[in-house]
């Protein structure tokens, strides 16, 4: 599909550096990539200026040297803006967006449990979705992880060792 959507135009003029990465895969589906340094500001721009302020989903991906995150944002007319950003695995830490979208809380906790990404600024709370006796340092959604790792690092047996 052609990239002449009004939202695409707006992004292009405000953030020319991301113009290359924008693709409109089909009606109502806009995909783009942005550096993590600009991400936060862009998200605010997307929520206010582009009116794509409905937080739908947060996908975390194990991308070889990086962890990538796609924030799937929607507006009231069915448009879905998918904003991808990434951080190197050596510095696996991102800032929380729960101050803007409280709905993101559980999905951010998922990133911590399943990929081992630190979420800065996320208030302390219950872990989600792994069990309390899950061994430390095991992140099942990483590509190099499989169940055989649990033979060496089994589920915790004592309640006092658990992260509750």
């Amino acid at each position: 599909m052609e990239n002449n959507h009004p939202i695409v135009e707006k992004i292009r003029s405000a953030y020319p550096q991301v113009a290359e990465s924008i693709k409109v895969q089909r009606e109502n589906r806009i995909w783009m990539k942005i550096d993590y340094a600009d991400f936060r500001k862009f998200l605010e721009f997307a929520a206010s200026d582009l009116k794509t302020g409905i937080f739908c989903m947060l996908t975390g991906l194990d991308d070889k040297e990086n962890f990538s995150f796609i924030y799937h944002m929607a507006d009231l007319n069915g448009i879905m803006l998918n904003i991808e950003t990434s951080v190197p695995k050596t510095n696996a830490s991102i800032a929380t967006v729960t101050d803007m979208f409280p709905a993101a809380e559980l999905q951010e906790r998922e990133l911590t449990d399943l990929l081992g990404v630190a979420i800065e600024g996320l208030p302390e709370g219950q872990r989600y979705p792994l069990p309390d006796n899950w061994p430390d340092g095991e992140y099942p959604l990483r590509k190099d992880w499989d169940e055989s790792r649990l033979e060496k690092n089994p589920l915790k047996e004592k309640a006092e060792d658990c992260n509750v």
Partner: protein
């Protein structure tokens, strides 16, 4: 000054049929804070999907949830089909919508029964669940199963609807519509229901947006959003329907929205049957899906279901991520219950129609490569109870083949 009291509800409790734990802090009878703990149904489905071909994933994804199995399967397939560039025949799209609406009917009737039970109105539970059998039997007739219908295949559907089946569907819709009119009458006129549900679990429209409430939970708080109308997937662009919403913003509103959606579902099904186009049922689909990514949205009975799929050119996906509607709605529960009463906790939780299997989805065998045999499982449990509880079950005979 009364002392604060924390009451743990769950994870296993009689109010809900699925595990989730709620720590309710009380000041007298009033709820001051509520701490939700989920994850008891986490089964590692997303991870498992990465190690299985798309064909197997479809059946795995269908088992994310028992109630909205068709929703998840369709949502997942829509994403894969978009990546593969498949053009699904119209008849298949109609059948997908048709089964989707039948699923909504059985889910909403189930909810109405559960909600009635939570407020002690068990007669309504008996009535709605009796009527729900009509739609369950119909689904079994059309697909061969009451749940997990497996009607979808990559590129279309596997099962056609015959002229005789069309007649049976229409007949069932007439009966169900008559019954639902009666339920609409009961929910709007019956004074005990009205008094019990009004002003309970209040969620303001602003909070609904902030907490990301979707589906009937959001629509009962004036948020007129429905993915069927916004995204027009499957055959929803071909039928007329109304997005039912309500401005009560409480549990009563959520009940009215679901009853209203039942009436809409009957009308959608009649239109689909009437217009069912004559095309093939499926297009050939490749085993290997080209590299790419797609996001798919679906209005499941509980709200918006979102699936993301990234393909890498092989027959297995690189990543599958899904967000079930309950994950979006459950975060609003603590807002709904603030300043409410302890006695309202169960009905308020039930009112979002929670489905924790969906939400937690994502174990494959815990102890390594092979799955446990019955014998191993039994030995494991005997050892566990000996060690942890000091009870010896060795001599208990189960009479099962080993």
């Amino acid at each position: 000054m009364s002392k604060k009291l924390v009451i743990p509800i769950g994870p296993q409790h009689p109010a809900l049929k699925e595990p989730a734990s709620f720590d309710v802090t009380l000041q007298g009878e009033k709820v001051e804070n509520i701490l939700v703990k989920l994850g008891y149904n986490h089964r590692g489905i997303e991870k498992a999907c990465e190690s299985k071909p798309y064909l197997h994933d479809l059946y795995l994804i269908e088992r994310v949830c028992g109630i909205c199995s068709h929703s998840h399967a369709t949502c997942f397939l829509q994403a894969v089909e978009e990546i593969a560039g498949l053009n699904i025949p119209m008849r298949a799209k109609y059948i997908r919508s048709l089964i989707g609406e039948m699923e909504r009917i059985h889910s909403h009737l189930l909810w109405l029964g559960v909600a009635a039970h939570e407020i002690g109105f068990d007669t309504l539970l008996m009535y709605t669940w009796r009527d729900r059998e009509i739609i369950m039997d119909l689904l079994a007739l059309l697909t061969g199963n009451r749940v997990n219908y497996a009607v979808n295949v990559l590129g279309g559907v596997r099962k056609d609807i015959s002229e005789e089946e069309k007649g049976q569907i229409l007949k069932a819709m007439d009966v169900l519509e008559e019954r639902t009119k009666y339920y609409a009458h009961v929910t709007t006129e019956e004074i005990t229901i009205k008094k019990r549900l009004s002003k309970v679990g209040y969620l303001s429209p602003e909070d609904a947006v902030k907490m990301g409430a979707v589906g009937p939970t959001g629509r009962a708080s004036k948020i007129k959003r429905d993915i069927r109308a916004e995204d027009k997937y499957a055959a929803y662009g071909e039928v007329d329907f109304k997005v039912v919403s309500d401005d009560n913003c409480d549990v009563y509103g959520r009940a009215l929205v679901r009853v209203g959606e039942l009436m809409e579902a009957y009308s959608i099904i009649r239109q689909l049957i009437k217009k069912l186009p004559d095309t093939p049922l499926k297009v050939p689909a490749p085993l290997k899906i080209p590299a790419g990514e797609a996001i798919s949205r679906y209005e499941a009975p509980r709200g918006e279901d979102v699936h993301y799929v990234r393909a890498n050119g092989t027959d297995k996906p690189e990543r599958v991520k899904l967000r079930a509607p309950t994950l979006a709605n459950v975060q609003a529960v603590s807002t709904m219950l603030k300043k409410g009463y302890l006695a309202d906790v169960t009905i308020v939780i039930a009112a979002i129609d929670p489905c924790f299997s969906c939400t937690d989805r994502m174990i494959i065998a815990v102890d390594g490569k092979s799955e446990m045999t019955w014998k191993q499982l039994r030995e494991h449990s005997i050892n566990w109870y000996k060690k942890n509880r000091g009870v010896d079950f060795t001599k208990v005979k189960l009479g099962m083949k080993e």
